[in-house]
Amino acid sequence: MTSAAFIEIRNLSKAYGSFRALNDVDLDVGRGEFLSILGPSGSGKTTLLMALAGFVRPDRGQISVDGRDLVRLPANKRGIGVVFQNYALFPHMNVAANVMFPLRVRGIGRAEASERARKALDIVDLASMAERDIATLSGGQKQRVALARAVVFEPRLMLMDEPLSALDKNLREQMQYEIRKLHDRLGLTTVYVTHDQREALTMSDRIAVMRDGVIRQLGTPASLYHRPTSRFVAEFLGEANILELDAVDSFVAPEPDVGGPGRKLMIRAERLSLSDASGHDNVSLDGVLTRSVFQGDSWLISVALANGGAVSARIAAAEAANFSLEALTEGAALKLHVRRDAVIAVTDA
């Protein structure tokens, strides 16, 4: 991104005692972009988000949104919509009062506030529940109220901290879709924290993967998935086989420094195949099958390689159907194939 970015974060650091929760973070987010922050527990996701919202005072660094420096602006003056993990609705107010709250705070009259709240509730399909008590709502309904409340005052920027983690799988998938739809419809810029990689891949324009207070890699879902630069990112986003550089005979490093110390090879499990599809620049690996598990749509097989090391391969049901059952029993010798450009060099950390 250039300096035209909507959000610019520079050298942001935050320490709790001697523990560095954020370590020199740089991040740009474009206008209208949906950016996810993904990372394991304790990696600093919430800290980064709360620094944006104004609840964490960074020790060093700058944050600006739309060209405006935010670091010293109190949270209530930032005009940023925030959705919290546990909804954070006001339990002593009903649905309508919750959604009207930001409008009334801004001095908007009751009639207009009520009308705008109704519209916001309409967007999240809750118009009929305006008079309900918060305690009587389901988790999904509470989440929608929280969304309506966060967008009703028309913020340009929306921050969400694991908003769906308390919901069950089906509802979560539905809400993922609705949140993304809301984002597009209202033209929001959204920073979305999650530690669910599938969620991040599904929803985001770009993903920032964090670890130990540092952004390890930033990119589109596909680029992060297919071209991770580190073993950590590779393993965090899917099934990754990590091999020594010499495990693949005819592998030629695409980059000059790939043979350096601490480098490994990464192959996604589903990119390994039993058949040698012609017309591609393929690499093959010899080995013995040590374990196979039937998983419905695919087989997950473990193979001990002749050159040392082991890999897991996910064989789609359609491909597996081409082979006899004996070929997939333990002890069978086999040959795995992979496209040369699916063998990725990564750092070993």
Binding site: A53, G54, F55, P74, A75, N76, K77, R78, G79, I80, G81, V82, F84, Q85, N86, A88, L89, F90, P91, H92, M93, N94, A97, M100, F101, P102, R104, V105, R106, R149, A150, F153
Partner: protein, 301 residues
């Protein structure tokens, strides 16, 4: 095991209900001695008090004592005084205790426990000692007055003790912890994210306090207020020592009737009235709570 074909359709509810009842009976059996003991220890003296207040020497029953009390200014005024003192104590506890609890809930853990210690400190000293200590502070030549006159803030010592003011100071001193603890617990229970949410939605600190924190702590404030009020109604030592004889509470009148007038019926009747007052407070509390709930309990911004 083979089940008859219709087994799945049998109705178990009657059997299950019986099992449940037996289990309950067993539980009651275990609890019975304790329940009996408590009942006897509480109900019997109360019944005796009620009886003494209405029994005539000849064994008949009358409300004479109550009528006498209602028509004697000394008693009616002490009822008024008791409610004034209790109400004022609740007010000062609320004015001092709520901010204190807020501060306690918002500072770090270490400072909070120090503050908690400060609040609890009076609990560890005997009531009488504390009360006399207060009189050392507040009397004509006490530390407070000496400071005020030495610094020229006042020319004459202020009457800080042996009056209504001194009584309220003493009562507040005794009752404050009882108010702060439930309020602190209530504030502490509020999800930090709710307070953050209010700020993110644009509410200033003051507005957040008024529209979010206080309403959510209302249960605790209410509990503290009722507790303090009810305990104040029956308080004796502090008004007796710090009131200088000018703050006659119902309890003072009870004591006088027992030890000075040896008028047990009057003492008992006053005791019954005090008990009724407490009951009334709880009843009003209950009604208040219910009507607030019925109104939807949504004090909007």
């Amino acid at each position: 095991m083979t089940l008859p074909a219709a087994a799945g359709a049998t109705d178990n509810s009657a059997l299950l209900r019986r099992d449940g009842m037996l289990a309950q009976l067993g539980f009651f059996g275990l609890a019975l001695p304790a329940v009996l003991l408590v009942t006897i220890a509480i109900v019997v003296p109360l019944a005796a008090m009620l009886w003494i207040s209405i029994a005539r020497p000849d064994g008949t029953v009358s409300l004479d004592t109550y009528l006498k009390i209602m028509s004697t200014p000394v008693y009616t005024r002490s009822v008024l005084t008791t409610f004034q003192v209790s109400g004022m104590t609740v007010l000062t506890c609320a004015l001092l205790g709520t901010p204190f609890a807020l501060v306690m809930a918002s500072v770090g853990r270490r400072l909070a426990s120090i503050l908690l210690l400060v609040v609890m400190l009076p609990f560890w000293t005997a009531l009488l000692v504390r009360t006399y200590a207060l009189s050392v502070l507040l009397q004509r030549n006490g530390l407070v007055n000496r400071f005020l006159t030495d610094t020229g803030l006042v020319s004459e010592p202020l009457p800080l003790i042996n009056n209504f003011f001194g009584t309220i100071v003493g009562m507040t001193h005794v009752m404050l912890p009882l108010f702060i603890l439930p309020v602190y617990a209530a504030i502490k229970q509020i999800d930090q994210n709710i307070i953050r949410a209010a700020a993110s939605l644009g509410a200033s600190k003051l507005l957040t306090l008024r529209a979010v924190i206080l309403p959510l702590a209302a249960n605790g404030i209410f509990a503290g207020a009722v507790l303090v009020f009810v305990l104040s109604l029956g308080f004796y030592v502090t008004p007796a020592i710090l009131g200088g004889g000018r703050v006659p509470m119902i309890s003072t009148r009870i004591e006088q009737n027992v030890s000075v007038l040896s008028d047990w019926p009057a003492a008992s009747a006053l005791g019954v009235l005090l008990l009724l007052s407490v009951g009334m407070v709880f009843f009003v509390t209950f009604l208040l709570r219910r009507s607030i709930k019925a109104l939807g309990g949504s004090p909007n911004v």
